[in-house]
Amino acid sequence: MSLEMLEAESIHIIREVASEFERPALLFSGGKDSIVMLRLAEKAFRPAPMPFALVHVDTGHNFPEVLDYRDKRVAELGVRLIVASVQDSIDAGRVIEPTGRRASRNRLQTTTLLDVIAEHRFDVAFGGARRDEEKARAKERIFSFRDEVGQWDPRNQRPELWNLFNTRIRPGEHIRVFPLSNWTELDVWRYIARDELDVPPIYFAHRRRVFERDGMLLAENPYQSPDPAEVVSEATVRYRTVGDMTCTGAVLSGARTVDDIIQEVATTRITERGATRADDRTSEAAMEDRKREGYF
């Protein structure tokens, strides 16, 4: 019953956006949360097609398995996909590629995202973020206002009561809407199981060459090289979150099915971001700082 309640709330939110905004976009990364969000959007308008485009911010360092999944899903649904490329932002001189051992394009995504929102004049963007992911996200409204330069002001959020959402903005401003705000990682997997949704294969246990850095297992990848002291070895791993290859860690796991994953998630004592994201480890308020700038 709890999944049905969460589903009903999310569908209400998605329909409210379609009703009150002119130009919505749905941010689709091919990760588990956006897979569920896309499914809910599909259900919200049936038998009509969903009335908005998908946007993917591609860092150029994504897992190929996830990009394949993204393209397959888009083809199935027959929806429009806009790919905003961080590489293009670098080539255009909008951002500078960071260098050094811990260089990651993660933070650059913010500029690319804000540029694609401005270019297509999107007035609202759906994101798959959940409040249980991270302490700054736990503070964010479902309809989260962004000013004309895309910033979030956590000290001055619009009060959000009942199921009444204030959708009013001026030209140039936009709103980020998070229909999965009240879902947990376990809810997402249970929903994937219930609806028999397909997910990228890297969520399941597989053999992969990895090296350990800062207590995380990073995949051997073309974009960064391990230090001489960091030994590359093969392990049975899976991914709990899907992000950039350069900053998303794998977890040791033997989970081969969705049911195995549910078992694993139900008993784990570590949050998904704690286990797998280097980007959140840079400081105590790393996520809050990135969100203020306009990050997802």
Binding site: E9, S19, R155, P159, L161, I270
Partner: protein, 413 residues
């Protein structure tokens, strides 16, 4: 398994964060990496103990100032229930954030310090929770360890509280003597208070009966979105999407459309996974009607002999949320269910002192976080019920057209 949404109100001094930390920690719902991060920060700040408040105070400013500024949402589950916790600030200056968290709560916890008894803040919180129609209230008399687990202290506070709550609409008030610091009566029963015959706080949260809190009598379906594919596959499909705000809808039921007053039958109900035999709150469904009526967003589907009021003059209690004071007459936007209309605040009947519940009829302006009974006139009728009858069709928000800020929250009398 169902979901209980509950809110906590109070400040660090009451032991609110300690209590939440306890609930999460003792029910094994805290993740070790989050706890380690909190321990790490506590250590660096030189705290004597691990400050569990940091588990919920997620913003930099909150951690620096040691206060809760905005609502934080937390999620945990026991084998019996899933919980969505809205941890809300206690300070008067953040009342607007407190009501945000409490507006959707099935239950709220009010903390009272056993060494102090009922204070101004407890009155304000209890009143606001009553105003927002939170159906179940749990008063946790905390720091019982500091009063020697004395039943007399607990009984006195309970009597004082009951005298206050009898003047409010809240039907279900439960009292639990606890020590958040030591964990007495939080997750399991305490051996220190054999005189207390009730269950622990968590036991209450797991077992409180909430399924009858929603209005299952008055059919209310605010039309949110019209689905008309006009495709070759379904050329004639016309469905009205929305969230059921009250009552039970079944295919074949006779229904009335407002504002037209025309009646028809429910031809079919489409849920997220296909046709349904019935729809109840809070399901999001699509209704198909037997006749082709002119139905659009903002309209309402109800039963012919059980319709909401069609009202242009609205009498409501309003919590003001803007730094810019309200001085009637004032023009605002009003969003009610799926309908947004222009409204004029014509008159302030009285401003309420939430600490004393005294009415100030001479008041002419309403400042941020204050509450007032207002008379409003709307340009287009609202299809509404008293808030006490239905929280969804009885509530509205006010928006300043100039700034687009949400400046007020109202409950209809």
């Amino acid at each position: 398994m169902d979901i209980l949404r509950f809110a906590t109100a109070g400040s660090v001094d009451d032991g609110k964060s300690t209590l939440i930390g306890r609930l999460l920690y003792d029910s094994k719902s805290t993740f070790t990496d989050r706890l380690e991060a909190v321990e790490d920060v506590s250590r660096r700040r030189g705290d004597e103990y691990t400050n569990l408040a940091l588990l919920m105070d997620g913003l930099r400013a909150e951690r620096e100032q040691g206060i809760t500024i905005d609502v934080a949402y937390g999620y945990f589950a026991t084998p019996k229930r899933k919980f969505i916790l809205a941890d809300t600030p206690g300070h008067a200056q953040y009342t607007r954030n407190m009501v945000t968290g409490a507006s959707t709560a099935d239950l709220a916890i009010v903390l009272v310090d056993a060494t102090k008894g009922m204070v101004e803040q407890s009155r304000r919180h209890t009143f606001l929770l009553g105003l927002l129609g939170v159906p179940h209230l749990v008063v946790c008399v905390n720091k019982m360890d500091l009063v020697g687990y004395d039943q007399g202290v607990f009984d006195r506070i309970r009597a004082e509280f009951s005298a206050f709550t009898t003047r409010m609409a809240t039907r279900d008030v439960t009292f639990v003597p606890i020590s958040a610091l030591h964990g007495d009566n939080v997750v399991s029963r305490s051996a220190e208070m054999p005189w207390y015959e009730g269950g622990s706080l968590l036991h209450h949260l797991e077992n409180v009966h909430i399924s009858s809190d929603r209005n299952m009598v008055d059919v209310r379906f605010p039309v949110q979105y019209v689905i008309r594919p006009q495709s070759s596959a379904c050329p004639d499909y016309r469905g009205y999407a929305g969230q059921v705000a009250g009552g039970v809808l079944r295919p074949g039921d006779e229904v009335m459309h407002l504002p037209s007053g025309l009646t028809t039958r429910v031809a079919a109900i489409d849920g997220p996974d296909g046709p349904l035999d019935e729809a109840t709150p809070p399901m999001s469904v699509v209704l198909r009607l037997a006749d082709n009526l002119d139905v659009s967003r903002g309209d309402m589907i109800c039963r012919p002999h059980n319709a909401p009021a069609v009202a242009q003059d609205i009498d409501a209690m309003v919590v003001w949320m803007s730094e810019r004071a309200l001085r009637p007459p004032a023009r605002l936007l009003l969003k009610h269910t799926t309908r947004t209309v222009r409204a004029v605040v014509r008159e302030m009947r009285y401003r309420l002192d939430v600490n004393t519940l005294r009415r100030d009829t001479s008041a002419t302006e309403l400042r941020c976080n204050e509450i007032s009974r207002l008379e409003l006139r709307v340009t287009q009728p609202l299809l509404c019920d008293p808030y006490s009858r239905n929280r969804l069709t009885g509530s509205f928000i006010l928006i300043d057209e100039e700034t687009n800020h949400t400046v007020g929250a109202g409950v209809i009398n």
